[in-house]
């Protein structure tokens, strides 16, 4: 094709608007909803389905809902939808469990400090990040002291902890402790030392082979047998240990995937440069391996956060435990849907947020070297 007959110099042709029907709303609707007979049927069926499902759902959740009420009967007198008044009455318990009323400020303060501590970890352009990271490193101790008391603060037994606060404690501790442990396990499984490798492999496969709930049962019933007679330690601590071990085993497998994806030449190059094992791991292999395993790591964290609900089965009062306890109140019986939908929304917001952050992180760390 020759362009010599064109009245415009090459590259000078003015942009023309695409023809009508090839762009804009009409085209979008056509290509995305009505491009073929099958597509039209699919669209219509889905639209009908949504029409049948959505209005009743929204009516139940918002328009017919009762936001302030004294009992279930009262709710039903007022309107036919969800009885959020129940949640409103119990919101304190849902958040703090049975933490003493006058000491709840300590939980709030810990939560605020937690946000301050976690910001520099997540946001790397933060001003004065170095200084803030020191605070993040100190936060676990400050948080533990604030929540449990001692050293001048009134002690609060961990069996009074509950609600979303307990979920956050289990989730945050689990995430913070299990990541380093998981990395160590993954390195152990890849190690050249046979015994280390066998022990790590055996541990990982055992933990991954059994459900978390059986491990929690072990923590609550069997663990005492393994300790010197007469010793007994806090149930929450036992549960935390189990949760950490559980998610460390899953993390180890995720990290191992990342380690296996790093070409052997990287380790050999590091060896050739005279780096020792830990140096080559810390400076060369792990930064690359962790970067590719971010989606898996965050997924494991989300899993851990969701699995923290299982503690209700061995009697800790996480939101589900509070919900079940509240449902046994005769004034409010039969409102299980409201309770579980409310808890589901809480978890959805937290976990969805985490998965969005992981997508952001992936994009940020994507340096264009991977095989795309």
């Amino acid at each position: 094709m020759s362009t010599s007959t064109s009245p415009y110099a090459p590259g000078e042709h003015p942009d023309e608007k695409p023809p009508i029907g090839q762009s804009g709303l009409v085209n979008w609707v056509y290509t995305n909803l009505f491009s073929s007979p099958f597509n039209i049927i699919l669209t219509l069926v889905t639209a009908y389905f949504l029409y049948k499902i959505l209005p009743p759902m929204f009516n139940w959740m918002f328009f017919d809902a009762v936001y302030v009420a004294d009992s279930r009967e009262h709710c039903r007198e007022l309107n036919s939808g969800a009885c959020w008044g129940f949640i409103g009455k119990r919101i304190g318990q849902f958040t703090y469990g049975f933490y003493p009323h006058e000491l709840r400020w300590r939980v709030n303060l810990t939560f605020l400090l937690f946000i301050v501590a976690v910001l520099p970890v997540l946001w790397d352009n933060m001003p004065k990040r170095r200084l803030m990271l020191w605070f993040s490193a100190l936060f676990p101790f400050i948080g533990f002291w604030l929540l449990s008391g001692g050293l001048g603060l009134e002690t609060v037994e961990t069996n009074k902890w509950g609600g979303f606060m307990l979920t956050m404690v289990i989730g945050v501790t689990g995430i913070a402790v299990s990541l380093p442990l998981g990395i160590l396990l993954a390195l152990g499984r890849q190690s050249d030392l046979h015994i280390i490798r066998w022990v790590c492999t055996g541990f990982i496969e055992f933990i991954r082979g059994v459900p978390l709930i059986t491990l929690l049962f072990v923590a609550s019933t069997m663990l005492n047998y393994f300790l010197p007679p007469g010793s007994n330690f806090d149930l929450l601590l036992r549960v935390l240990i189990m949760v950490v071990l559980f998610s460390a085993a899953y993390l180890a497998e995720v990290v191992r995937g990342g380690l296996q994806a790093i070409p052997k030449g990287q380790v050999e190059a590091a060896d050739a440069m005279g780096l020792k094992y830990w140096q080559s791991m810390r400076l060369v292999v792990l930064p690359q391996a962790l970067k590719i395993s971010i989606p898996g790591i965050v997924n494991t964290f989300i899993g851990l956060f969701k699995d923290s609900t299982l503690v209700v089965i061995i009697g800790l009062l996480d939101p589900l435990g509070i919900g079940r306890a509240s449902l046994s109140d005769t004034k409010w019986q039969g409102l299980s849907t409201e309770v579980y939908v409310f808890i589901a929304l809480f978890f959805f917001i937290c976990c969805f947020g985490m998965s969005r952050y992981s997508i952001y992180l992936e994009k940020k760390l994507h340096t264009g070297h991977s095989e795309e």
Binding site: N39, P211, M222, P229
Partner: protein, 400 residues
């Protein structure tokens, strides 16, 4: 190559204590030795504690308690069981219940997951986004909340048996469970089963010989229709010829509840539904990733070779997608099996609720009961993953 030049190894170094740590090999040996000693010490310490604790509590260790009467009832059993049966039988009932919900869950979750995954790839915006919203919402809520929510809805929102939702006068939905007709085999029914088995064997034999024939001569046989005919057609034919030797026991309302038929208890239903809906969301993402992983050039090449759409899908896309799908699918199947242990939250009597729950509490044998439960789950997990690994190996790309 018999040239023997004087290649000398590194000069032999004189032995010294400091070298043990600087030489890579001896250092490895030392670390392993230390690790072995440490592990042995920890194991001995724990074992010692266990022995001391048992002595102090005056408890014997042993599994003889499994032969004692269990003294508790189980509301849904696949085999005969009463409160007079032994703990061992209760454990078996629990295992069967776990397997039942796991197998049912795996089947339903796979079906739903594949449908959702395909919908997620649909060019239709509405369908695509609907599937997306479903998947994101379900994935980000704990499975225990799903189970309790579904259980709550089934128990509180479905009508009592008297006002049961009636489907075709034989299926009844109530808050006491779903009642469905129960098949009762009459004597001649064995003929139908025999026909099915024969049909199955013939179908696979036919498929094999058709393949050999195609490889040798290039002629194709109507494999699909012959397999359909022999697996389904033959038993149906025998069934009709022998005079339909299968009766259905329809559930009937008697007093406050339904009698007869098969009852699916609300505990089982809610566990099954919740586990399937939850896992389906994960499977959908796996399926989507698997199909997207197949290069578009593959489809184009197949079409360019003149393969019709359906064969392109069957022979080119699906085999390659499956290779990506199987390993993560395997771990989802394991997850269903392990998550079925949450049954205890709603009172479905699976293995954790029987042997790890009531038996444990009645006999006080924490150690033995937990060992049984852990061992069984390990056995299930290893079995499922080895089956899936075998299947995966068969599908794997044979490389040079």
């Amino acid at each position: 190559m018999s040239q023997t030049t004087d290649i000398q190894g590194p000069p032999r170094q004189s032995f010294s204590i400091g070298k043990i740590w600087t030489d890579k090999r001896t250092r490895g040996l030392v670390i392993q030795l230390l690790a072995t000693i440490a592990i042995c010490a920890v194991v001995l310490y724990l074992a010692n504690n266990v022995v001391e604790n048992f002595q102090k509590l005056g408890k014997p260790f042993g599994f003889s308690f499994l032969q004692q009467e269990s003294n508790y009832d189980i509301n849904q059993t696949l085999i005969e069981y009463s409160s007079r049966s032994t703990h061992a039988r209760a454990a078996v009932v629990g295992i069967l219940n776990t397997l039942l919900v796991a197998v049912c869950g795996i089947i339903l979750a796979s079906i739903l997951g594949f449908i959702l995954g395909v919908l997620r790839l649909s060019p239709n915006w509405l369908v695509n986004k609907l599937a997306y919203c479903y998947i994101e919402f379900v994935r980000n809520v704990p499975v225990l909340v799903h189970i309790l929510l579904v259980h709550g809805i089934l128990v509180h929102s479905l009508p009592k048996p008297k006002q049961a939702i009636d489907v075709a006068d034989s299926f009844f939905l109530t808050n006491r469970g779903f009642f469905v007709p129960k098949p009762i085999a009459e004597p001649l029914f064995w003929a139908v089963i025999a026909a099915f088995v024969i049909g199955l064997i013939y179908a696979f034999w036919y498929r094999r010989s058709a393949r050999i024939k195609q490889a040798a001569t290039g002629e194709q046989s109507p494999v699909f229709w012959v397999m359909l005919g022999s697996i389904i057609g033959l038993p149906v034919l025998v069934y009709i010829l022998t005079g339909m030797p299968l009766a259905w026991e329809i559930p009937e309302l008697k007093g406050f509840n339904f009698k007869g038929g098969m009852a699916l208890k609300p505990e089982f239903m809610s566990l099954w539904i919740a586990l399937s809906l939850y896992t389906a969301a994960f499977i959908a993402e796996i399926v989507r990733a698997g199909i997207e992983a197949v290069n578009k050039g593959q489809t184009e090449a197949a079409l360019a070779l003149g393969l019709p759409r359906r064969r392109t899908l069957n022979l080119v896309i699906i085999p390659q997608a499956l290779r990506v799908i199987i390993p993560p699918l395997n771990s989802q199947y394991l997850n269903i099996t392990k998550n079925s242990s949450l049954a205890i939250a709603i009172g479905y009597m699976d293995i954790v609720a029987t042997i790890g729950g009531i038996t444990l509490n009645q006999t006080g044998r924490e150690m033995e009961c937990m060992l049984i439960v852990l061992g069984l789950y390990l056995f299930f997990s290893l079995t499922i993953s080895s089956i899936m690994n075998w299947y995966n190996k068969r599908l794997a790309l044979v490389e040079r």
